[in-house]
Each structure stands twice: as structure tokens, then as C-alpha cells.
């Protein structure tokens, strides 16, 4: 069975050629609040294995129970060595972190 997520939407995409942006939409306010409190720049930097200053911190849309943050790309979109030109498939480290938080595996 493929791994699913406890969120409704969890995605990555380019926000311009130099930045990846991540969006998470939750099923419940409790999940939204729990994860929002834990997604510090330090924690995200650790997750994506980049220095903390590369993280553009979390912002939220309460009405949607949604969080967003962004990360400066290691390589610009479509440059030699980049493997995800559109930035559409960079979400898995975040998926793992968020699901660990939501299943109380995270302390």
C-alpha cells in the first residue's frame, strides 16, 4: 500500500525560477494548529538539509486551514544539475515530517 498523507493537499511548485514553494491544507483546525506550531525555520531547514536562512517562513490562511512556506532552490529551475524543472515533486521530506507530527511520532 502506497503511503498516503493525513493532510488534504501537500504540494510543491516553483514560485519563480529560484524558489520552491510548499502548500499544506489540513482536514481539521487541530491538525492545522499542531503543525503550524512545529514548522519552525530551523525544523524545515533540517528537513530539507539546507541552512535556515534558505527558508522563507511559514504563513497561513486560516479560512482554508492552509500553511505555506518557501525554500530557495539549490539550483535554479532547468539549470544543469537541476532535476525538477517545475519543482512539482519536492514534497516528500515535508510529507514525512508533517505525518510524523500528526501521528504523534514527533516529539
Amino acid at each position: 500500500m502506497a503511503k498516503r498523507t493525513r493532510t488534504q493537499v501537500l504540494r510543491s511548485k516553483n514560485a519563480g525560477p529560484f524558489t520552491l514553494t510548499f502548500d499544506i491544507v489540513f482536514h481539521s483546525r487541530a491538525d492545522f494548529e499542531l503543525v503550524r506550531a512545529k514548522l519552525t525555520p530551523g525544523r524545515l531547514a533540517q528537513t530539507f538539509k539546507v541552512p535556515p536562512e534558505e527558508i522563507i517562513p511559514v504563513d497561513s490562511i486560516e479560512q482554508l486551514l492552509a500553511l505555506k512556506f518557501s525554500v530557495h532552490r539549490r539550483r535554479p529551475s532547468g539549470h544543469p544539475g537541476d532535476s525538477d524543472c517545475y519543482g512539482m515533486n519536492q514534497e516528500e521530506p515535508l510529507r514525512r515530517l508533517v505525518d510524523d507530527i500528526l501521528s504523534d511520532k514527533d516529539t
Binding site: G16, V25, V50, H72, S77, G78, G81, C85, P93
Partner: protein, 460 residues
């Protein structure tokens, strides 16, 4: 007063508009204008550099035919922004040529405005002092724009706001083919030309520019359609705007519209366009009926006029080859093997010119790179060996040398003495042509947008 804009597709040439939905919407809702974006930067720097469209010609042609058939007989103006995908001069010319051809075949006559926003780098270089362009800053990091980045650029375009499009409308253009433009400006231009509020118009454009991507399906309909882009209708009045999709099985809900405000950007509450900042922190999204959302409360503040410029340089030429590794002993040692091999190849070929080697190791870490957290050795790895060199010949020779080298590399514990890997194709090496990289993604203060754009009127 209210103005209705129809956006047929999120990007011209991406799968194509559902013709029946478009024609039905023209009859039922009698839009005042068809406005559509054709551009994307997501597909990387190559298309701007090479002057080519990213979408297939047959799909672009489909959308242009549908749009002209919907608009011209009804006398409805058409605005296409970021023509040809990247909005360079070559892209505008190709789009104008296609519009001309379709119009000739159908006997349509109209006044067309072609607005180009590709700039000569000398124009920007003249403004540089002390190695930077004063006042310019990176849209992603805020860092200054170096003179060197401008000088290295091969193609530079400026993303126009509504102003040059409004000029063309005032001059009587019925079809406007604009070069690189801010996505939302393409949709906002006509309402602002007719006196609507800039904040509301730009916000409406910002949500509508991806067409049905901002709507949700009430039941699955899109996946069974060949041409599966569904138009979105936006109606703007004095106090707000309303969005609805042109398909009865789709809905613009407050959630779907709000979700789209998120899309492909880093800031939630505001976004900047030439000459102003759109403030969405007071915007309210309300369901008007089950398929329509009304949005109110968006404001704007004027800002000094500036334009986002995108530029690319040629980095070299590509040759690549894919191969597979199924031998456990080699899979385990693959990173070290490739690293050692690369060192030898550099020693051998460096005297012949500059080149860089990149390995995409699918099954190990190709997608996530250094962020990959699963380091368990897989049973099989697919590798793309990517070489970018000064010339296509050097790229080929380095790649072919590596192909035979990886096939016969003597790593510890090797028992596959007739060859190590599965070479996928014959010929083994693929040419990727010129390779481009981004040089500019910078906001530059502009005193008059007419310094950047050139408009020509053509009788079709």
C-alpha cells in the same frame, strides 16, 4: 456597470480549450473580452533563449482557432499575453503569423496590435554604474542586479503591466498579441481600460489566469476530455467580482478561489504588479451560488513604477545518455564509482574546453538530491549522465567516453567482466542542443513603460 472577461484556457496550447464549453459561454454570458495568458516560466530558461514555444503547434493552433471563432464574428476583443510561451520577440512574431494564417483561412479581418517587450541588453547596460543596475533587485532574494549578469544575457524580456495593452485598446486594436506580460495584467487590462478598480481587476486576473485550475469538479469530467481546458468567466463591478466556470459540472468555490491565491508564489496577502501593490488581506470570498464565488474587499496602493525582467544566457551544449544498473555490488558503490570516473574524465578532457557533468540517479536521489532521506540501496538504479560543454562535439565526446568507461569500470568486487551496465539506446548518446540558464529575474525601476515596449498595428 459590469464587465465580463472570459479566459478560455490557463495557458494557450496546453491540451486545448473545450470548444463546446467556450461557444456555449459566448452565447450565454456574452463576455466583453476574451483574455488569455500563453506564458510560463516553469518550463525553464530554454524556451526564452531558443525563441521556441513550449506547447505543440497543433495545440496552440487549436486554441487560437477556437478563440478567433468565438470572438471575431461577435466583435469581441481578444488579448493574448506572454505570446508563444516566453513572450520574446520571436514568440510574438510566431503568434502573429499563426493568427494571420487562421484569419486568412476563415476570411476574418481585424486590427491587430503586436506589443513587444524584449529589450536590448545595451539599454540596461547603459544604466549600470559601479557594476550594478541602480535600484534593481532580485525578485527572489532581493539581491542587486550585476552588470555582468546583464552583459552575459542573450535574451531579456520585461513583464508588462496593463498600460501598453490599454494603449492598444485605445488605438482600436481588436486582437492584441502581447509579449511577456504579468499574467494577471492580461485579464485586468480590459476592465481597467473600461474604468474598473485596479485592485479588483488585478486580483480577478490573478485568480482567473489559470482558467479551470481555480475551479473544482463537482463530478469527474476533465479526465475524459481530449481538449480539457474549461473557460472561466469573471464579472467585475464597482464593489467586487464574481467567478464561475463555463461547465455545469464545475464550480468556483470560496475555497478553490482562495486556494489559487496560494499558487506558485511565496506571499499570501499581497502581490506587486507594475505601478502598484495589490492587497488581499481584507479580501472576502463568498459563495454566491453553488458554482459562483464573489470576492470583495481587495485594495491596492500605488508604488513607483517598476517591471520584472527575465533574462537568459547560453551555458553550453548538452549531450546525455541513460543507463541502468542492476548488479548489487555496483549499485552499492555507484556514488563512489561515478565520482572517481568524473575525476579521470576531467583530467583527460579539460585541456579541450570547459564542461560540467551531472548524474541523475533515479532510484537513489535524482528527484530530491541532497534532501533525500531514504538511503537504502535500491535493487536497480536508472542513471542519466548529463554533460554540458562549450561545444556539442565536446559534450558528445565526453559523454561517449563516459559511456564506455562506466561499462568497463573496474570497481572492487566486480564479477561482470563482459560489461557493467545496461546501455538503454543505440545510438547511446542524445544531443540536447544549446543549454540556457537564468541571468535575470529582477525588478527594475522604469520611468516610462514606453521605453520598454514597442507596439505595431497590423491590418489583418
Amino acid at each position: 456597470m459590469s464587465i465580463t472577461v472570459l479566459t478560455p484556457v490557463g495557458c494557450i496550447g496546453n491540451r486545448g480549450v473545450d470548444r463546446a464549453a467556450l461557444m456555449d459561454a459566448m452565447e450565454r454570458h456574452t463576455p466583453d473580452v476574451i483574455a488569455v495568458d500563453a506564458g510560463s516560466l516553469d518550463c525553464g530558461p530554454w524556451y526564452l533563449g531558443a525563441g521556441k514555444a513550449h506547447s505543440p503547434y497543433v495545440n496552440i493552433r487549436w486554441d487560437i482557432e477556437c478563440i478567433l471563432d468565438a470572438a471575431i464574428p461577435r466583435g469581441v476583443p481578444v488579448i493574448v499575453g506572454s505570446a508563444g510561451g516566453s513572450g520574446g520577440d520571436a514568440h510574438v512574431d510566431a503568434t502573429v503569423e499563426l493568427v494571420q494564417r487562421v484569419a486568412d483561412e476563415r476570411g476574418y479581418h481585424f486590427k491587430l496590435a503586436a506589443i513587444k517587450s524584449q529589450v536590448d541588453k545595451d539599454q540596461l547596460l547603459r544604466r549600470c554604474t559601479d557594476g550594478v543596475l541602480p535600484g534593481a533587485f532580485s525578485a527572489s532574494t532581493g539581491e542587486p542586479l550585476s552588470q555582468g549578469a546583464v552583459a552575459r544575457s542573450e535574451v531579456i524580456v520585461g513583464a508588462m503591466g496593463v498600460e501598453p495593452i490599454i494603449d492598444a485598446l485605445s488605438d482600436g486594436a481588436q486582437v492584441i498579441v502581447a509579449g511577456r506580460a504579468v499574467d494577471s495584467a492580461v485579464i485586468a487590462a480590459y476592465p481597467i481600460y473600461r474604468g474598473c478598480n485596479r485592485g479588483l481587476a488585478y486580483h480577478m486576473g490573478d485568480i482567473m489566469e489559470c482558467a479551470e485550475a481555480t475551479a473544482e469538479e463537482l463530478r469527474p469530467v476533465l479526465r475524459s476530455l481530449g481538449h480539457n481546458r474549461i473557460p472561466i468567466l469573471g464579472t467585475i463591478d464597482e464593489s467586487g467580482f464574481e467567478l464561475r466556470p463555463a461547465h455545469s459540472d464545475m464550480a468556483c468555490t470560496p475555497q478553490s478561489c482562495l486556494m489559487h491565491s496560494f499558487y506558485e508564489r511565496t506571499a499570501i496577502d499581497s502581490f506587486s504588479v507594475p505601478g502598484c501593490k495589490i492587497l488581499r488581506d481584507g479580501s472576502r470570498y463568498e459563495a454566491k451560488d453553488e458554482r459562483t464565488t464573489r470576492i470583495i474587499g481587495t485594495r491596492y496602493v500605488n508604488q513607483p513604477y517598476s517591471i520584472l525582467f527575465e533574462g537568459v544566457e547560453r551555458l553550453g551544449y548538452r549531450a546525455l545518455f541513460p543507463f541502468g544498473v542492476r548488479t548489487p555490488a555496483m549499485v552499492e558503490q555507484l556514488p563512489e564509482i561515478l565520482e572517481s570516473m568524473e575525476a579521470v574524465v576531467h583530467e583527460m578532457f579539460d585541456p579541450l574546453g570547459c564542461f560540467q557533468i551531472h548524474w541523475q540517479r533515479y532510484g537513489m536521489d535524482a528527484v530530491l538530491g541532497s534532501a533525500e532521506m531514504n538511503l537504502t540501496p535500491p535493487h536497480e538504479v536508472g542513471v542519466i549522465a548529463d554533460v554540458v560543454a562549450d561545444t556539442p562535439e565536446l559534450a558528445h565526446d565526453v559523454a561517449y567516453d563516459m559511456l564506455t568507461r562506466v561499462a568497463f569500470w573496474r570497481y572492487p568486487g566486480r564479477y561482470t567482466t563482459a560489461g557493467n551496465v545496461a546501455i538503454t539506446f543505440s545510438p547511446g548518446i542524445f544531443f540536447g542542443g544549446p543549454v540556457y540558464g537564468f541571468t535575470l529575474y529582477h525588478v527594475i525601476p522604469i520611468s516610462d513603460y514606453r521605453e520598454i515596449v514597442r507596439t505595431s498595428m497590423i491590418d489583418i
